[in-house]
């Protein structure tokens, strides 16, 4: 008995037939849709099979599942050649090419453990290029990271490890972010504590000319390579109302700073400049090493060559090179030191390198009575001063101060009439609000602003931002073009570009070169909220220490004076004779004992008292010094943590041979020995009495064999060329054995083993 009436039965049958046909049609359509021509990955698999006949080509969809990263990636369905060596070159489609730099990129990041999208982004599950790369999917938040943006992903795991070999753009950005003081206004989770990038303004009234202060706030100039005061009213001259705002606000800010400025003890007012003293100061300025960080900037003022004062009239340099074209030039030094094993990005920022401010106008912008106190002890004025101490005598400090007051290359405008004490309360209060809003206290120590927070938004997850949440200003581009990259790059170039009538923006503008701006955008893209799972973060304490060491090296401007990483120290160009300048630090990790270096960094005494140039006192913390020592050591592949080097006491029998040999070689004709110089020449060399605590015996062995190879440009001559020796009878004339004897003798020159006082960090150098 049917439950339906016959007419109902008929209509259901018809419906069933209809549905059946529809089902069949849709099945056929889907089979057709998923057919040969509609599956692009089949095409790539076929092309791969042609390139690599017989190689497994995946046969269908290949899926990488990486549960810890929550990744399901089907990229290898098409990108079949990624880990196949040999598929390079333009004749092979990019889809099938081997991954660039496979040793680092895949060797250290195996596909099975990392997948693809954690670095490259895009939509891992999709199987057509447009969808997989995310650019054809309006609902996919993050398309494929193109070009240098892929480097942003490195930051996730390599947070604490800087100078990554494969990510130069990211590293540029990381450096710029720190140097330009972005952290002053924008917090970033897990970042090293920011340092104030600008000088303290706590006692600003004792230091700056008020007219100059206002003009500088209005329109600061780019004067240094690694720091920049940004423009708070950028392009104000384009709009009159903005110009008026700038002029008024800069006076309000200056009024607050001057009003709150605390008194500072200064020398007596300088009434007249003693010309002889200024001349003496000029000579000190040239010779102490001030020029490592500062330029004077007057035309011709920075031409200087420091030479040894020779008693003969030597031929001029031109006469030594005028025959290069006929006799052939010898080009750069033949015995270059060996390449470091891993490629590293340069420490030194590109472009002009003024680490400290140029001083051509310093006498005009800074009050004369300020200089002496400042050069004598910068930390007294500002405890975190970048400027190091120079251990100057009173006479030297006065002479330098006298010279600095004579540097008046610029006109300083008089202060505006409204900026006169006593300052109007309302003006001062307006200044306070402006300082808080613009975030001046992020870079400067300012009285009364100690409890103010950061002025800008936190950027810890800026890389995660959905571009559709960005405000593209009054005339936004079409939706498809509103990308994260476009917004960020524009914002970096012109922070106020998206300002509208209703939305006021406060971010100031810094001047960046194109690669720096791009680097910064890439770095920002790498800032993500979600930390990588355990086991993925590189938590190598040694790498962290090296990064810290490199950061210290850059932040303290060590490269201004010292040649390092084969980059000539900036100051070295002033020294016609290289050994009159600061020593090169290439190879320092192999040459010096870590304990000695540590102690020296904390308390740098005059290592080479015959030189004018002076290692300044940087007020490093023990952690800073540790980082530097570890960085130097690891660059030379020294064992870390380091241990003290021991040299056994020489036996009386060996000493009987060694002492006369040491005397025969006349080492002390040039070297100091136990602080005795005994020689009346300006050309001396390091104290051999320090060998035991200071030098690595292995380094000394290599140095004795061929000094010029170990330390290019050294004055130390070769005593044992090609295994020859000046003493053919001692130890059967065996040069190797004689060198060993010499090292033993050197390391036993009457000194006790190295030690350092743990509480003061001072080196316990034993005097004879």
């Amino acid at each position: 008995m049917s439950a339906f009436r016959p007419d109902e039965q008929r209509s259901y049958r018809a419906l069933f037939a209809l549905l059946g046909v529809a089902f069949l049609a849709s099945t056929l359509w889907s089979v057709w849709d998923e057919g040969w021509t509609r599956r692009p990955w089949k095409v790539w698999q076929a092309r791969y099979a042609e390139l690599r006949p017989g190689a497994p080509n995946g046969e269908g969809i290949t899926q990488l599942v990486v549960p810890p990263l929550e990744v399901v990636d089907r990229c290898p369905t098409c990108h079949l050649g990624v880990d196949t060596p040999g598929l390079e070159g333009p004749e092979i489609s990019r889809v099938l090419q081997t991954h660039p730099d496979p040793a680092v990129m895949l060797g250290k990041h195996p596909v099975a453990r990392f997948g693809c999208t954690p670095c490259h982004r895009g939509q891992g599950l999709a199987l057509t290029a447009g969808k997989a790369h995310g650019e054809d999917d309006p609902h996919w938040p993050e398309p494929l990271a193109r070009g240098p943006y892929v480097q942003a992903s490195c930051l996730g795991c390599h947070r604490d490890e800087e100078r990554l070999a494969g990510a130069p753009v990211l590293e540029t950005g990381r450096r710029v972010f720190r140097e330009m003081g972005c952290e002053a206004c924008h917090g970033v989770a897990n970042a090293p504590p920011p340092v104030k990038r600008g000088p303290s303004l706590k006692h600003v009234a004792a230091k700056l000319d008020p007219g100059w202060l206002v003009s500088w706030i209005r329109a600061p100039k780019v004067r240094r390579a690694t720091r920049q005061m940004p423009q708070f009213w950028p392009h104000a001259e384009d709009r009159p109302e903005r110009e008026a705002q700038r002029d008024a606000e800069s006076i309000d800010i200056a009024a607050y700073l001057l009003d709150k400025s605390a008194p500072f003890a200064l020398a007596d007012a300088v009434t007249s400049v003693d010309e002889t003293l200024a001349e003496e100061g000029h000579r000190l300025f040239d010779r102490l090493g001030c020029r490592g960080c500062h330029v004077i900037g007057t035309p011709g003022g920075d031409e200087l060559t420091i030479r040894e004062e020779r008693s003969s009239e030597a031929a001029s340099d031109e006469n030594l090179s005028i025959l290069d074209d006929v006799l052939g030039s010898d080009g750069p030094a033949a015995d270059a030191p060996p390449e470091p094993s891993e490629a590293v990005t340069p420490t030194r920022p590109p472009g002009p390198v003024n680490f400290g401010p140029p001083l051509g106008d310093v006498g005009a912008r800074i009050q004369a009575k300020f200089f002496e106190a400042w050069v004598r002890d910068p930390a007294a004025y500002w405890k975190d001063a970048t400027m190091p101490g120079l251990d100057l005598t009173t006479r030297e400090a006065r002479a330098l101060a006298a010279y600095l007051t004579t540097l008046r290359a610029a006109e300083v405008p008089p202060p505006p009439d409204s900026l006169k004490p006593p300052y109007d309360r309302a003006v001062v209060e307006r200044g306070r609000k402006l300082i808080a809003a613009y975030g001046c206290h992020g870079c400067h120590e300012i009285a009364g602003m100690e409890d103010e927070g950061r002025a800008g938004p936190d950027l810890s997850d800026y890389g995660d931002k959905d571009p559709h949440d960005f405000h593209f200003g009054a005339e936004p581009p079409p939706r498809r073009e509103r990308t994260w990259e476009r917004f960020t790059e524009a914002k970096i170039h012109r922070p106020r570009a998206f300002e509208t009538k209703d939305i006021k923006l406060l971010m100031p503008e810094v001047v960046l070169a194109e690669p720096e701006a791009l680097g910064l955008a890439v770095f920002l893209r790498g800032l993500r909220a979600k930390p990588p799972p355990e086991g993925y973060v590189r938590a190598d304490p040694a790498a962290r220490a090296v990064s810290a060491g490199e950061r210290t090296f850059a932040e303290r401007g060590c490269w201004s004076c010292h040649t390092f990483d084969k980059e000539q120290g900036r100051i070295n160009r002033y020294y016609g004779d290289v050994y009159l300048g600061p020593p090169s630090l290439d190879g320092a990790g192999a040459k010096l004992q870590p304990q000695w270096l540590f102690a020296y960094l904390l308390d740098p005494g005059p290592m080479r008292p015959w030189l004018d140039v002076r290692m300044p006192r940087f007020r490093l913390t023990p952690d800073d010094a540790d980082g530097l020592c570890e960085m130097f050591a690891r660059r030379e592949h020294r064992r870390v943590p380091m241990r003290p080097l021991a040299m056994r006491a020489i036996t009386p029998a060996r000493a009987k041979l060694g002492t006369p040999f040491f005397e025969q070689l006349k080492c002390v004709q040039c070297h100091m020995l136990n602080r005795q110089q005994g020689l009346q020449t300006a050309q001396l060399s390091a104290d051999l009495g320090l060998s035991r605590v200071r030098l690595d015996p292995d380094w000394v062995r290599r140095f004795l064999v061929d000094p010029g190879k170990v330390l290019p440009g050294t004055k130390m001559p070769q005593f044992f060329p090609d295994g020859r020796t000046p003493n053919p009878t001692l130890l059967d004339g065996n040069a190797q054995a004689q060198i060993e004897l010499l090292v033993e003798t050197l390391f036993n020159l009457g000194l006790q083993p190295a030690a350092r006082d743990d509480t003061t960090g001072k080196p316990l150098l034993v005097t004879p």
């Binding site: 031929a315 030594l320 090179s321 005028i322």
Partner: protein, 238 residues
């Protein structure tokens, strides 16, 4: 395969032979060679050589007073220690690299200026009972830097690169200096105290004669050498 390799090898060898014939000096018998001779003179006012201040090792170095050798004008205003040579001669009389020496004697170099052929074995000597280091530099690289602590010590060094080598002592004897010019052909001479020089066996042709002096710089004189001829010229500085 091996045949093809053989062909490749001979091509490479032929190219090398051709290349070296173009680039390197070729020594052969010179027929009808001419002579370039003359004198260099300094016509200006030559101040008496300055007495050098000895700042170190007086016992050895200050035994006899020392005078600057930077500009020595001899009889007849002859310019001593100028190096005279033909520019980039590609072939001519055989190049003989023998031995030469530079001696640290009484804290000066003997000789002060010399010119040698590439391949010469330079004997670096110390005749003083003090430590001398003999640091020889091309403009951009070290040639050698030997420490000679012993009187009578000799270290030989083969000079393998052409160029102008400046020699100095870093062991505190700041006044010591010498020059060694290394040539890849044999057509060079150093002027004597009268300023005279002679360069013989020059294949006939046109040349540039270059005269270099450590203090005065250089001069270039075009010369034409005829078969068996003698070119006499005077080079003057004011």
């Amino acid at each position: 395969m091996s045949e093809r390799r053989g062909v490749g090898l001979s091509v490479v060898l032929a190219m090398l032979a051709w290349g070296s014939s173009v680039l390197a000096y070729e020594g052969k018998a010179v027929e009808g060679g001419g002579t370039v001779t003359g004198a260099a003179r300094f016509l200006g006012h030559a101040p008496a050589p300055k007495k050098l201040e000895i700042t170190k090792d007086h016992a050895v170095c200050a035994k006899v007073p020392k005078y600057s050798e930077v500009l020595i004008v001899g009889p007849g205003k002859g310019l001593h220690n100028a190096v005279v040579f033909l520019d980039r001669v590609k072939s001519g009389k055989p190049l003989r690299a023998g031995r030469a020496s530079i001696d640290n004697r009484e804290c000066r170099y003997e000789p002060h200026v010399q010119a040698v052929a590439v391949g010469t074995e330079m004997l670096v000597k110390n005749s003083d009972a003090v430590l001398h280091n003999t640091h020889a530099k091309l403009p951009n690289s070290d040639v050698f830097n030997y420490g000679l602590p012993e009187k009578g010590q000799v270290i030989p060094k083969k000079l393998t690169r052409t160029g102008l080598i400046k020699v100095g002592c870093d062991a505190g004897h700041t006044w010591m200096s010498a020059y060694i010019l290394v040539f890849d052909h044999p057509y060079f001479a150093v002027t004597d105290t009268y300023g005279r020089f002679t360069i013989g066996d020059v294949p006939p042709g046109k040349y540039n004669l270059i005269i270099w002096h450590e203090k005065l710089g250089k001069q270039v004189k075009p010369v034409t050498v005829t078969p068996g001829g003698k070119v006499e010229l005077s080079v003057e500085w004011k």
